[in-house]
Symmetry: C2
Subunit: 407 residues, 2 copies
């Protein structure tokens, strides 16, 4: 039998490591012949745009490079399958591709939408009596997938955020005048990544002094009060804030009140907005910093724990399919914090698809403006370890596939 | 005799390495007793706020940590001395501190303003017949200091920019739809740091496809034309642009036309502005990314060449003072590109203070929208090598001095 693997959703540092896991485990199996890579997620299956990964990943060095290359080497997509009961045109295309290519197992590395695809596709193929195993390999820097202890890609993002926040603390502390620095971190509905900056409190840092997550109500009035309180204690106040915060006083004005010279709405983020609030209401030196896509692609400071686990969970997906399971998503179960230990299990995709996992209440301080030390034991193991990054001309060497090969 | 050292101006990854250079070289010299650190640059001398560095830097591990800690461990300032012919009140305070602390040499690690301080202070002390050696140790991520081949701190900033840009390229290339990504890089008048992203062209990258520096005229019309040209060739177009670009059509409208709900002017950067221009005029997927302070403080990916050289130029400053020179700034002279070799020399501070060095014409493409391969030999040696970063709890370990010790 042949197998196919695809990558989907927003980039992380660990999606290619999961691809490595699927690829290496499949190579070991004599029952598996071709290992197809689907270009641009499920779109590659729909359009029969597949590459033979054995012709692309050619050496141990290629594997090492793939592990340290961020984003998705096979491209990605944002594609949500319709219900097959409504319209199965696309499902037929997918099934045709599976048949034509003699694909007996399909591995989908992705976030919530991709797990929805795993669920629907496994239901559809069961219903038409097709023997194919559909397995989901999770990934997301948001860490908001249910059931799994954490998501591949999150640890590296958290390591980047903490390391960068620590450097921003050094940078912001040099002058004698008081200042406020607001760091905007990804996370629309769940504050995991923002909250993970709490790990700095175990080192020498008192910062971030304030941490705001979208799980809590946020009011400008309380925010200004919090900032003034911290300014009384610290010369350089550092604030970590999730991009998904909703302001209770004037719900969406920070994304709609401003129009540029083209009459275009100014989609400034919450960080920039609060920078202007602080400047206007407190009047001190203030700066906002958006960590932007660097949070999800800074492989040069990825977490070795994350990369290793992401490879392992990819490999476990292959073993799960070979055991005859389908419609499953692979998950981590934490056995212990310190020493850190996880096992890998599989659960029905319908327990993960279309759900979101939020920060537990005991991770959030009573005043809703910081993260508790209880969260540190959860986050800390996930950011441990560094890869020995292969460098070329002074820069990390990346593995890429020529655009012409990907069509 | 005692000596004093101070750090000034905007943070870089290499200012503490230069402090290490001054400290270690001074320790070797039996003629030097106390090694004072001045808190917050020249302000520490003015206010007699000094610390004894022998009580603070206590071990080889401390030295290793200092070398990998960004920003200024002694704090910084933005203080420009008035002409002493007009008013020498502050000069008298400085001289009193030098006398009271028996300081025979003062080393000022900083940028252009600090070199102006070196110039004025050496002239003043000569004029009053005081025997003190005033030596400048340059630093700036802008690389715009004259005479010296390059400035300490620049190589690490350039390495961060190139490594991050490479990751942004991976991140932006995943979807099948066309897109434009605009990366805004520091540099108000000189485009060195933005231009350094050209090193990616020696690796596998065609990006950045467009590079704009403040040395050239910039028009929105040409920019849109350039972007459309590149979109015909590449799916994901990457633009590097200096923050200091001035738009010829509507000189300052991008910083003044927009007012937020507080009636505050929206100081969006050029990147955000051009993002809105592209969205409005071309209509494709577009994102802007501001590399912000991470450019000057991301020590976790610093250049070993930069850190080593920054330490060496600090040490050379001490030897220069011991030879009896004053009013000098230490500079690099490049002997060869490949194999890379530099020597360290000293020049009169008045040849450096208050001048700016711009990109040479042959580094800029005829169409003024890219950087030539001739520039690569200049930039490439500066980003080579990595420190073996000491980690703690999964993060780089920083060296800091307690706020209470710094007063």
């Amino acid at each position: 039998m042949n197998i196919a693997v695809a990558q989907s959703g927003g980039p992380t540092c660990a999606i290619n490591a999961s691809l490595v896991g699927v690829f290496k485990e499949s190579l070991k199996e004599s029952s598996i012949d071709a290992i197809f890579g689907s270009v641009n997620g499920i779109e590659g299956i729909i359009n029969d745009n597949l590459v033979d990964l054995k012709n692309i990943i050619l050496s141990n060095e290629d594997i090492e490079l793939l592990r340290q290359t961020p984003s998705t080497v096979l491209g990605s997509c944002r594609y949500k399958l319709k219900d097959w009961e409504e319209d199965d045109t696309v499902y037929q295309k997918i099934v045709n591709c599976f048949k034509r290519r003699q694909i007996g197992a399909f591995f989908y590395i992705g976030g919530n939408d991709s797990m929805d695809t795993v669920k629907k596709l496994s239901e559809y193929t069961k219903q038409i009596g097709m023997d194919i195993k559909i397995i989901g390999i999770p990934k997301t820097i948001d860490n908001d997938l249910c059931v799994t202890d954490h998501s591949p890609g999150f640890g590296s993002a958290a390591k980047y955020v903490a390391a960068t926040m620590q450097e921003i603390i050094r940078d912001s502390s040099v002058y004698s005048m008081p200042s406020v620095t607001i760091v905007e971190i990804m996370g629309r509905h769940a504050g995991w990544l923002t909250a993970s900056s709490v790990v700095l409190h175990t080192n020498i840092e008192t910062a971030p002094h304030l941490i705001y997550v979208p799980e809590c109500e946020f009011s400008i009035e309380s925010f200004l009060h919090d900032v003034e309180n911290e300014m009384a204690k610290h010369k350089a106040v550092i604030v970590a804030i999730s991009e998904g915060i909703e302001i209770s006083e004037e719900s969406s004005s920070f994304q709609s009140g401003v129009v540029d010279s083209f009459g275009h709405k100014y989609l400034s983020g919450i960080g920039k907005y609060l920078e202007n609030v602080v400047r206007s209401k407190i009047g001190c030196k203030v700066r906002s910093i958006e960590l932007n896509v660097m949070q999800r692609c800074s492989s040069h400071i990825c977490s070795k724990t994350d990369i290793d686990e992401s490879e392992q969970i990819g490999a476990a997906g292959v073993r799960c399919a070979l055991k005859g399971e389908t419609g499953k998503v692979m998950v981590f179960k934490r056995v212990n914090d310190m020493p850190y230990m996880v096992t890998i299990d599989s659960v029905d995709a319908n327990k993960i698809a279309n759900f979101e996992k939020y920060l537990p209440e005991n991770y959030i301080s009573p005043a809703k403006n910081n993260i508790t030390n209880e969260a540190i034991n959860y986050f800390m193991p996930l950011i441990q370890g560094e890869l020995n990054i292969v460098m070329e001309n002074g820069l990390p060497k990346h593995f890429t596939i020529k655009e012409s090969v990907l069509k």
